[in-house]
């Protein structure tokens, strides 16, 4: 009898401590986080960024160690968090035992919420007994993801502040875009040759779609594709955006590219990439800066915004450190980032 009583008490206590309120993640899986989440393992860079923004002290580590040129953008104690690796998605580099060892109370991934990742999450959750939540990583759902993540982590207030700010920024952006009279044809060129691009619906050109720009490669299928140079010439984009400094340099000397309208008009721009890329990768909240940047380049009349102030504000809120004037100069002064 007394044994039964102890067991019941233990079960009750256990439930009270660990299985507090159940939540549903973006893939529809039920998540039961512990009452108090102290440490969160983020399975990929977009998730790291959001967890770090909401509660930097809860992040167990980065998926890959910060490089020297990235470290300076973050408070030192966070920049030097350990490298834990990625868990799902494009190949695991993290060791499940290490995630366990990091005293993780919650695993989150932000990005795709499709069946492949949902099943992987369930599997890891079963193995580790650590709740594993998936959230949508698209730009538009970033505020909702921030709020849901804040609830799971027990940090509603800071998450709500970030979400509300992000919503206002997106609203302001869209309101400006709606005033734009002309929507230039944009080609997004990746890789050293510039012939890799993203078709309509591809996550790589999501920023273009949010900005209401016309993607030259819209007729290509979603996802990364390679196109021929003739095809680019046929599209004859008015603006080229790239993330590859080698490609940006080569368009000015390669006689083939000179035939493209964007090159002729000097409208080829290089996206900043520190400490996280602005335009394409990693596909996370960091792309807000790419939206302001590209908006300014595509619709100069309606985007009379101070990019330095935008960068400073985003860094303060999401990276917990304002960039120095020298850092801003370096980010925005790199050749190709802004019109001469």
């Amino acid at each position: 009898m007394s044994r039964f009583f102890v067991l019941t008490l233990l079960t009750f206590l256990g439930k009270a401590c660990f299985a507090q309120s159940a939540a549903v993640d973006a893939s529809g899986r039920e998540i039961r986080p512990p009452a108090k989440v102290e440490r969160v393992y983020a399975a990929g860079p977009p998730a790291s960024l959001l967890v770090f923004a909401i509660a930097p002290d809860k992040l167990t580590g980065w998926t890959r160690a910060m490089r020297p040129n990235e470290v300076e953008f973050f408070p030192e104690r966070y920049a030097n968090l350990p490298e834990l690796g990625r868990l799902t998605g494009r190949g695991n580099t993290a060791n499940v035992e290490m995630v366990l060892n990091a005293k993780t109370g919650l695993i989150v991934d932000v990005g795709s919420t499709g069946p492949t990742l949902a099943s992987l999450a369930s599997q890891v959750q079963e193995q580790t007994r650590i709740p594993y939540a998936l959230f949508d990583g698209s730009i538009e759902s970033t505020p909702a993801t921030l709020r849901a993540l804040g609830r799971l982590m027990g940090n509603e207030a800071p998450a709500e502040k970030l979400a509300a700010w992000y919503e206002r920024e997106l609203g302001d952006l869209k309101q400006r875009v709606s005033r734009a009279k002309e929507h230039p044809l944009v080609y997004y060129g990746r890789s050293a040759s510039g012939l890799q691009t993203g078709g309509k619906g591809s996550i790589n050109v999501e920023a273009l779609e949010v900005l209401g720009a016309r993607n030259a490669a819209a007729e290509a299928r979603a996802g990364l594709v390679t196109v021929s140079f003739e095809q680019v010439l046929l599209w004859n984009p008015e603006v080229i955006l790239t993330t590859d400094p080698n490609f940006w340099k080569s368009v000015w000397t390669d006689s083939r590219w000179r035939a493209v309208s964007a090159v002729e008009q000097n409208r080829v721009y290089l996206s900043p990439h520190l400490p996280f890329g602005w335009f394409d990768f990693p596909p996370g909240a960091n792309r807000l800066l790419g939206l302001w940047w590209a908006g300014k380049l595509l619709y100069p009349q309606v985007f009379d915004v101070d990019l330095r102030a935008k960068v400073t504000e985003f860094h303060r809120l999401f990276y917990h450190r304002e960039p120095t004037a020298a850092q801003l100069d370096a980010l925005l002064g790199e050749p190709g980032v802004l019109p001469k």
Partner: protein, 335 residues
Amino acid sequence: MTSRSISYVVAAGALVALTALAFAVGRYPVSLSEIVSLLASKITGSVNTLPPNVETVVMQVRGPRVLAALVVGAALAAAGTAYQGMFRNPLVSPDILGVSTGAALGAVLAIFLSLNVISIQLFAFGGGLAAVGLVYWIGSRLRGHDPLLALVLTGVVIGTLLGSVIALLKYLADPYNQLPAITYWLLGSLAAIAPRDLAAAAPLALAGLAPMLLLRWRMNLLALPDDEARALGVDTRRLRALIVAAATLMTAAAVAVSGIIGWVGLLIPHAARLLVGPDFGRLLPLAMLLGAAFLLGVDTLCRTLVTIEIPPGVLTALIGTPAFLWLFALARRSW
């Protein structure tokens, strides 16, 4: 006319017709008359009144690509023919001694280090040469074995070693940016060919072809056992080293600009052998004609069928396999 010379004439005719067709089609519409008047103005030196984009497409984009397809196809087929004769093995392809894997490692390393296109090509070319150099050096030091067996086995093990280094670099690469670039390079493509690529690869491929053409009659002796060949006064060791160097130079130059394109180097020599028999002097020109025509045909489809590029490695096997089986069923010639 013998059936052999018919093979040459048909292959050469097909190549010329295909080249003309390849110049005429593409994503950017250029009419045949525009191409003709452009070429005429280039030859006579007169000023043409064509839209400037026509000249860019023909001279800078499509032209170099068509010629590069011819060079890469011919080079891979020639190297494959030489190796299959030399190793007395029909399953050998130009990358048996690790040239493609070495080139791939070079290119992957350059992408990993975020270098530009020219550096990627230089790394690939250097990687291909270095890999074969290493294999040859080790293979020739393994005494007490059949030299060919030692060479092939060394090639296989070094190839797997380099393959695992490639895998490691892929694993460490940035999954959003570098990994797709590496994957696309390994799939092979002629999409990014610029005039300068052709200017760099064509002379190197020709330099590799020269010794093969000059020594084409002696090549048959390499198919004999070493002592028999030596009895006929051929220094097999030196001849073999020369052919390996020539084939490696050709393949490395081709792979550096095109990435890895399979099938051509392995099966085009067989197709040629089915048509004209095993004599190297007759085989080499036909294999090159067929290889050039085949890759040109495949690449033309790759760049015209849909908006996006299709990797040639996909189509070489899709088109090549039925064509090869058909030829195999028709021919009654023994190897």
